[in-house]
Symmetry: C2
Subunit: 201 residues, 2 copies
């Protein structure tokens, strides 16, 4: 979803965040500078400084913008087909491991930013909040499935946290190794886990 | 296990690697310099340069040394109690999430080095090999359990890769967020997964 959000920026702030997203995706965190954002916008860096005090304020605003968009789009009032929805989430996660997946450059940058969060409380606060939003979104699908009888009685939050942890482990291994085959094997095990633990027979 | 390995270095090379381990653990990758290793050893940095050409050669030698030690210690000829052994592995992994765990500083550094591996083929080659060694070690335990009838017929390699992926996801989330409770919930889900997928009833 990420890339589409920034397709039609409606004001200068959104234009800057769109340029930040593209620069993060194409160059990574280390090579993101206020100058580079300015170039991406065909503007002077002073325009960027007028809106954001430094690089990290900009990156965090971009991440927050993406998170809010995710929350708006995926916080359903009703979930008609919980199993289909959960399969979509799992497919979305494991799709990232596909070498042709065009989200890879941005997901790789998110991994870099997670390491940034080790030493930076502002990034840590963001990722704490974003893990919470993702877990709540997945848990809501599982609760809906239990209510409709499509899913077994299980701990929706624990299952959601587990899926999220597998996803971040996958990202961490994906970009730090050249091994292949393992992501498909893990995806199969996750399906077997959902079959035995979540989906009603 | 890591810290004990370096307790009694038998030669200069092992002394340097021990100092590298302690410096990585205490200062992280960014603050590791040849100078800092020299200080840790009460020696001139030229001694360090005599053995290793640069910081990354040193860090990689330290990681390789740890991996070889792990391989020697955990590549059993016989596995008497596969279930007990697998529980040990899982407890070891999830023990890392305990705030009092004294391995945390080094594990956090490993996370930093995994991000280093995004742009550095030598680190990527190391982590490719180390993931393979860990997966093979866990898979051997699972194969042993299938042979003894303690475990169900399952895909040992896929289960091993899944446990490893959960572990790296846990590390990634552990140091990039301030959230708590989730690691315990995930640990419980992993037990339920092993109950339904691996352990014979």
């Amino acid at each position: 979803m990420s890339s589409d959000i920034f397709e039609n920026p409606v004001n200068t702030r959104e234009e800057i965040l769109a340029a930040t997203y593209r620069t993060l995706r194409d160059r990574g965190y280390a090579d993101l500078t206020m100058q580079a954002i300015g170039e991406e916008l065909d503007q002077s860096p002073s325009l960027v400084y007028h809106h954001y005090e430094d690089k990290d304020a900009l990156v965090l605003a971009c991440l927050e913008y993406l998170l809010e968009h995710f929350r708006d789009e995926y916080s359903y009032e009703t979930i008609d087909d919980p199993r289909e929805r959960l399969e979509e989430v799992v497919d979305w996660c494991f799709g990232t491991a596909d070498a042709d997946d065009d989200r890879q450059p941005f997901v790789r940058t998110v991994l870099e930013l997670r390491v940034q969060a080790i030493h930076d409380p502002a990034y840590r606060a963001h990722f704490t909040r974003s893990d919470q939003v993702f877990a709540e979104t997945i848990a809501a699908i599982i609760r809906a499935g239990i209510d409709t009888g499509d899913f077994r009685e299980c701990d929706p939050n624990a299952v959601a946290e587990t899926l999220q942890t597998v996803f971040f482990g996958m990202i961490s291994r994906l970009f730090s190794t050249d091994a292949d085959g393992w992501a498909e094997a893990v995806s199969n095990e996750v399906e077997l886990y959902l079959d035995s633990r979540v989906y009603a027979t």
